[in-house]
Subunit: 227 residues, 2 copies
DNA sequence: ATTATCTATAGATCTATAGATAATGC
DNA sequence: ATTATCTATAGATCTATAGATAATGC
């Protein structure tokens, strides 16, 4: 598992096209470069606080060139939302179909979500903290993220029903878990796995009636995922 | 305790001044109204995505009137940050001086922080999720918030040393706790105490080696605070 | 005389479009 | 012929200032 969110070069064989004004050889994955630059800037300055000029400059382009790759500025943010959601959505779907007990599957989901988001270049996960996510024009991305939270909620409800988790409102607990996943963290290279484990351990310890089972549940979860 | 963050009317006896263009009688707490309007808009649309025109309209004023109360748009956000930080900073200072054991004091801190933020009109707490908090011009607010996180970290370190909490990196755990406190939640009226309890219970359950002590710790914490 | 507001507007953006241009590909 | 880029710019903002105005206070 742990497919990275690496975006494939839009056109790996590209040679045509006017040279860039800055003289730098064009990347073969300009779209990817734009998304990376935009993610870093949106997270640092906000969406409205980042001009298309700033994104273009960070990607080594003139401002109007962005509109060759994205119809509007909104479309850039939408692509980032969808990019950060694609992998967790696929993994969660798989996890929900697995046979294991609720605690191990919840551990696996939290672990995979934190890891996938941390994996992505330039902490794409932090885009979910942007207020724009709440705007109607990004309803699709918001709905996809709600599906992730609902998966957490279902697994939590299952664990409460089975007597593994302490009683509580699964929907609210699921939101707390998601806010742990999306906690803004500056990760050095290679720290993502440790962060994923810390977050999943923290969440499961909070939910379990018998937290001394954490180690066994972690092992079961990681075994589930490596199948 | 639980002093609310209610802002005092800047000038409760005001009668002078040109009438408003919208005909509505001027509030006696215009500054307060502006902050409330701005908080709701910043959280919904982001800081740069909210025009001073929009804030003024929501407060029943013409756009330039804002600048009678705040020198710049930045100053509005800065006032919001400081407003949301004032109460937790005061409470944390008190808690650190209290004699109780680390778990109860940590419980008290988390509970008070979640409650204080939820108390404030218009979910001011969500302003801490705005990317602008990271900008140098808001360094003072960011530093104040870091002091809150350091209080969590000190209490967590103390609890680990005393054998109450499971081992871990106090600084990272403190950030996880803060992200629970600031989890974006739409609270109906009167739900804030339940949310504060849920967050504090969740955090302490995750940290304690013996989570069956949670009930006793909660009682101790609430007793501490009502002294 | 003081206060809180207003109207008008300068100057600085910022998004997106139109259309030219300099490469490669055939 | 197609592609990726460029330059130039229209039109729509948006912040903040200047200075007038309509109340109350003395």
């Amino acid at each position: 598992m742990t497919q990275t969110l690496e975006i494939r070069p839009d056109n790996p064989h590209r040679k045509a096209g006017r040279p860039r004004a800055n003289g730098v050889k064009a990347s073969t994955a300009t779209r990817h470069d734009i998304l990376n630059a935009a993610a870093a800037l949106f997270v640092a300055r906000g969406f409205a606080g980042t001009s298309t000029q700033a994104i273009a400059a960070a990607a080594g382009l003139r401002q109007p060139t962005l509109f060759h790759y994205f119809k509007t500025k909104d479309a850039i943010l939408d692509a980032l939302f969808m990019l950060a959601l694609a992998e967790p959505l696929a993994i969660f779907k798989r996890i929900e179909a697995l046979p294991g007990a609720a605690p191990a599957r919840l551990y696996a989901a939290i672990h995979a979500d934190t890891l996938s988001l941390s994996n992505t270049a330039n902490n794409v996960k932090a885009v979910f903290l942007l207020p724009e996510l709440g705007h109607p024009r990004f309803a699709q991305a918001r709905a996809a993220r709600e599906r992730l939270i609902e998966t957490f909620a279902r697994l939590i409800a299952e664990g409460i029903a089975s007597g593994d988790f302490r009683p509580g409102d699964p929907a609210r607990l699921a939101r707390l878990v998601m806010s742990l996943d999306e906690a803004p963290v500056a990760l050095a290279a290679g720290e993502a796995p440790a962060q994923a484990r810390m977050v999943a351990d923290f969440a499961l310890s909070a939910l379990l009636i018998a937290p001394e089972r954490l180690g066994a549940i972690r092992d079961e979860a990681l075994a589930l995922m490596s199948e």
